[in-house]
């Protein structure tokens, strides 16, 4: 294991602030991260198309389906086939545009991506009077940086990780917090009260949600006994064909809950509905990015989608076995290394893309919280739930293994994680679930009445 120079720089910076070292470290991390961006950037762009298509289908609309590549084809034919007569040029364009693949491209709205990009680049970089110049201009870059830096430690495959850091989980959590500074800068620098309110909301919210997210990661760290994301993935290895049973999420109901909390906390940290306090377009017009336009706005949008992917990556890595296949891992390991890497990246991409789709799905389903409700959810629901889960997890480990420290089991099948074997495993699930069910039944009996008028409105369902 090599401590990357970036981490040295980071440690230096943490122990005593030295801007020069920090800049060098950031530059080195950026260089390391670049190959990872080659994977993340297209996915972030495609995330926007997913968002728009899914939203359109849910709302009985068409979504983007107009931008084809007809124009590009026409241009190319005109330039390349200048010696042909105009009529045959047109016929050629028609032929090419009639290819089924291109039609599908158009219907899927992929052309919209290019059109959006051209539009954003082509738009005027409008900076209103009264903005705080440097802060206003710098905020989008910082947002993008904060969104991309954590990818340095995410293992995309067995050997595809930019930096092998022993404290990777901590690093990801810490670096992703940079975004909040960018949001505050955007809110303050815009010289707009709506932006300012949005920025302040963003700060309050992101800082609060760092706690449940941190606690959820702490649960995994407790279970696996390491903070190295690569080792956490390795810890979830299971040699059988049902290799998904090695994943953290099925180990214990508490880990399952922590995965949910990590996901929703992540949702709140990347400011997505129902937690989009900072943008809240019906309240704050567009919140912190009200005054942004063109490419600067595009950077915020890109940062948002990148953060969504980051949340997907973190949940997949910590709880869903990372890049490992759910149906048998051994057959992949026997393949050639390059094929192995490609398969792993593909599996990992499928996992985090599924989370992106889930986030999109949530966005077009739920209304937005109010500011105080977001805070209440964090401090009165998620944090106590995290503590309950951590306690339960520790208790499980104590009962099963007699110790809660250094639970380094190595690469063992899932059933053997607990010393009691399959029965213990089932009990570890059954007892907490039973307690929860009892509590829920009692609670529903006491508070679960619904007004009869509402029952009538929802067609008699309870």
């Amino acid at each position: 294991m090599t401590l990357g120079p970036a981490v040295d720089a980071l440690a230096q910076w943490l122990s005593g602030p030295d801007p020069a070292w920090w800049a060098v470290g950031a530059a080195i991390v950026a260089v390391w991260v670049l190959p990872v961006l080659a994977v993340v950037f297209p996915v972030a762009a495609i995330g926007q198309i997913i968002e728009r298509k899914v939203a359109a289908a849910m709302q009985r609309r068409h979504g983007p389906n107009t931008v084809g590549i007809d124009g590009i084809v026409r241009l190319v034919v005109r330039l390349g086939g200048f010696f042909l007569p105009r009529a045959s040029q047109d016929r050629l364009v028609e032929r090419i545009c009639a290819l089924p693949g291109l039609g599908l491209l158009k219907v899927l709205g992929l052309g919209q991506l290019a059109a959006d990009g051209v539009k954003m680049i082509g738009k005027e970089d409008f900076i209103p009077a009264g903005t705080d110049g440097l802060i206003f201009r710098a905020a989008p870059y910082l947002a993008l940086t904060g969104a991309f830096l954590p990818f340095a430690v995410i293992p995309f495959a067995q050997d595809l990780v930019a930096l092998e850091v022993p404290v990777a989980a901590l690093y990801a959590l810490a670096v992703s917090g940079v975004t909040v500074i960018a949001l505050l800068m955007a809110g303050w620098g815009s010289g707009n009260k709506f932006s300012l309110l949005g920025g302040m909301r963003a700060v309050a919210q992101v800082i609060s949600y760092e706690i449940p997210v941190g606690l959820a990661i702490a649960g995994v760290v407790l279970w696996c006994g390491t903070m190295d994301l690569h080792q956490i993935v390795a810890h979830q290895y299971n040699g059988e064909w049902y290799s998904f049973l090695g994943w953290n999420i099925v180990q214990s109901p508490f880990l399952f809950l922590l995965a949910c909390i990590l996901f929703f906390g992540g949702l709140a940290e990347c400011q997505r509905t129902p937690f989009d306090m900072a943008e809240a377009e019906s309240e704050l017009v567009s919140g912190f990015n009200t005054e942004y336009s063109g490419l600067r706005w595009g950077m915020f949008a890109m940062a948002e989608y990148t953060e969504m992917i980051l949340v997907g990556c973190l949940v997949s890595t910590l709880f869903l076995g990372g890049y490992q296949s759910p149906i048998g891992e051994n057959w992949i390991i026997t393949l050639a290394p390059w094929l192995q890497t490609i398969l792993h990246v593909g599996i990992f991409a499928a996992k985090f893309t599924a989370f992106v789709v889930l986030m999109v799905w949530i966005r077009w389903t739920l209304p937005r919280f109010r500011v105080d409700q977001v805070m209440r959810l964090c401090w009165l629901t998620l944090v106590p739930l995290c503590l309950v889960c951590l306690f339960g997890l520790a208790l499980t480990m104590l009962l099963a293994n007699g110790t809660v420290t250094g639970a380094a089991f190595g690469r063992l099948p899932a059933m053997q994680h607990l010393a009691l074997g399959p029965v213990g495993y089932l009990l570890a699930w059954a007892i907490p679930v039973a307690v929860a069910v009892v509590l829920i039944v009692l609670a529903r009996r006491k508070y679960g009445q619904m007004h009869p008028a509402l029952r009538e409105l929802t067609g008699g369902a309870s």
Partner: protein, 256 residues
């Protein structure tokens, strides 16, 4: 307290899952229709907008051959968007020599159509107001048989350029082209009053007619005034005579 807390979490999760299930069902339902077949929206410029029913109140349209210039529409119109002139034809029937509908004023209420006694006014199912496709309909007077003639954008630009010049000053080919688009003898003219293309003959005819009517009216008024004055004079003389006669009658009585 713990139960309330648990209940809160349960309710949240329950309604979250319920909502997600519902939107997933929407998603599946709408994806099943190929190419967004169950989408209720329409790709407007590519797919034409569908007009339902036959009572649609689109463009206002006057069938000039049966219009009798009765001004019923003019009287019923809340926004005064009609300007019309009439003349008698060889069968001594009223015909519109000019029938302008100011479509920038029209509110498409349809009161004029209800008021029309001959059903010459109607509202068409066409309603496009896309300036690139149909500007000519709104900006220029065009005859009814040319209403659906398509004008390309260059044509519209050319028309705008030409229509603001006096017709006499136009080049011969421009005049010929414009006469082909805007029928000077068109019975039904539709467009924006005051901005349109008038043939001088038509304008002179309408003006002369109006002038003649005005003079006639003035003459009639003068005649009526004169007649009235004469009548009054006669009445006054008569009254005087009667008075004198009465006085003449009274005098002898007094004398007697």
């Amino acid at each position: 307290m713990i139960l309330a807390w648990v209940n809160g979490i349960y309710e949240g999760v329950d309604s979250f899952i319920g909502g997600m299930r519902l939107t997933a069902r929407f998603l599946v339902e709408n994806l099943r229709g190929q190419g967004g077949a169950t989408a209720v929206t329409r790709q407007y410029p590519q797919e034409p907008a569908v007009v339902v029913g036959n009572r649609v109140r689109g463009h206002l349209f006057n069938k000039a051959e049966i219009c009798i210039v009765c001004h019923a529409c003019d009287k019923a119109c809340p926004v005064d968007c009609f300007v019309m002139d009439g003349e008698r034809d060889e069968n001594n029937k009223m015909r519109a020599s000019r029938f302008d509908i100011d479509l920038s004023k029209c509110i498409y209420c349809g009161l004029c159509v209800r008021a029309c006694p001959t059903d010459s006014l109607s509202m068409t199912t066409g309603f496009e107001v896309d300036p690139h496709q149909d500007a000519a309909r709104y900006l220029f007077r065009r005859s009814s048989d040319q209403l659906d003639k398509h004008l390309d954008e260059p044509d519209v630009v050319r028309m705008a350029r030409l229509a603001n010049q006096p017709r006499e000053g136009l080049a011969a080919d421009d005049r010929a082209w414009l006469d082909g688009i805007v029928n000077p003898a068109g019975e039904h003219l539709i467009g924006m009053y005051g901005m349109g293309y008038f043939t001088p003959e038509q304008k002179a005819k309408a003006d002369a007619e109006r002038e003649r009517k005005k003079k006639e009216k003035e003459a009639a008024a003068a005649a009526a005034k004169a007649a009235k004055a004469a009548l009054e004079k006669a009445a006054a003389e008569k009254a005087l005579a009667e008075k004198e006669a009465a006085a003449a009658v009274a005098k002898p009585e007094a004398g007697a």
